[in-house]
Symmetry: C2
Subunit: 193 residues, 2 copies
DNA sequence: CCAGTTACATACCGATCGGTATAATATACT
DNA sequence: AGTATATTATACCGATCGGTATGTAACTGG
């Protein structure tokens, strides 16, 4: 005995995610959101709560998407070294292609909101830990296959790769010289040798 | 034949820098600024121009301060390895002490504004290049003193240190476990071996 | 001590912010 | 078909946004 929604919540949330990802929390207005989501303001509040709650839902959606994206990229290549090389080179290449360079939504949130909002501090930290676990899985796969030495500390190396990934992604926001970016990516990969 | 300023421009700009550093561009209002700077709104516009111009002046001031801070820290320790170790450990230690964790103002700007504003893209890129040059100087000093091998590629290593510094600084915004942060910092230093 | 110039404080501007009250509309169950 | 219920669209809310006009106070050169 109800009137059904005329919009797809999933699509609307996706649109909100893209907007927040590109512009950040403060710079995105409710008018921006309703326009891009294709819904009216009261519908947004009924479906997602206030701006912060919508933002949190968007970040959770991004983190899920991003984690599975990273896992897929690393698992789809048989060689662990080659998978990681392709992954880090991809960060550089995609940053040059994209305008504006959105980078990683989760990192953007770490910078804009995590220092002032405990909820986002936790949410972003958990995602980084999760990414570290994905890297660790991959490294352990390389150890098992003999591609990496048995003496490699998988956990420590994974954490280092997370730091390098963050550094590379954020560095790309300033669009450094291609040589700088390529060299930085190459040096990260060289950590595996 | 004029009335002199009642406020110190240097101090006022410093106050603005601290506010922008802590809260970012969008989240800092003119009311916040005039309150902390201790001046009235028309005085702010007369002395510094509009909000964006004031922000740019604040960033330039920060970059100067930050570059000389980094240079001093790296030069004040005779051992290059020890200087770099202390520097990266310091990033971790200071992040835990500071609440909220402001991180690096220039990195905050890279994330919030550089992708949408060419002026800040250039300004932040130049600072990263400058930091890379400082690291390179330090590494070359280590090579000359024999502390580092002659085969070391100073420029490439310096660029890698910049990426690691960025990654570590941004990671700290999510306040990761102490073990994660310490290990990440230690692995960066291990690059020198 | 007056004239000219600049900075000060207050008060205000239109625009936009996030959020909501209201009322018309569309559906499902009885 | 009628009624209860949820969604829609419009219009509106007070607050705050960045920015400025206005008039008064303070100083200096003549």
């Amino acid at each position: 005995m109800v009137r059904p929604r005329e919009f797809n919540e999933e699509q609307a949330l996706h649109a909100a995610m893209e907007l927040f990802w590109e512009k950040g929390y403060e710079a995105t207005s409710l008018s921006d959101l309703t326009a891009k989501m294709g819904i009216q303001r009261p519908s947004l509040y009924a479906a997602f709560g206030d701006k912060k709650e919508l933002f949190e839902a968007a970040l959770r959606k991004y983190n899920q998407f991003h984690a599975s994206y990273v896992r897929t990229r690393l698992q789809s290549v048989p060689s662990v070294k080659e998978a990681l090389r392709s992954f880090f080179m991809g960060i550089v290449a995609e940053a040059y292609e994209e305008v504006p360079n959105r980078g990683c939504f989760c990192l953007n949130v770490m910078v804009e909101l995590a220092p002032h909002d405990a909820k986002f501090e936790v949410l972003t930290r958990e995602h980084q830990m999760y990414l570290a676990a994905i890297f660790q899985e991959t490294i352990e796969r390389g150890i098992r296959s003999g591609e990496l030495g048995k003496h490699v500390n998988a956990k420590a190396l994974a954490q280092t790769l997370v730091v390098s990934m963050i550094g590379l992604t954020v560095l790309m926001k300033s669009r450094p010289d291609r040589t700088f970016a390529d060299n930085a990516a190459a040096t990260v990969v060289a950590l595996l040798e």
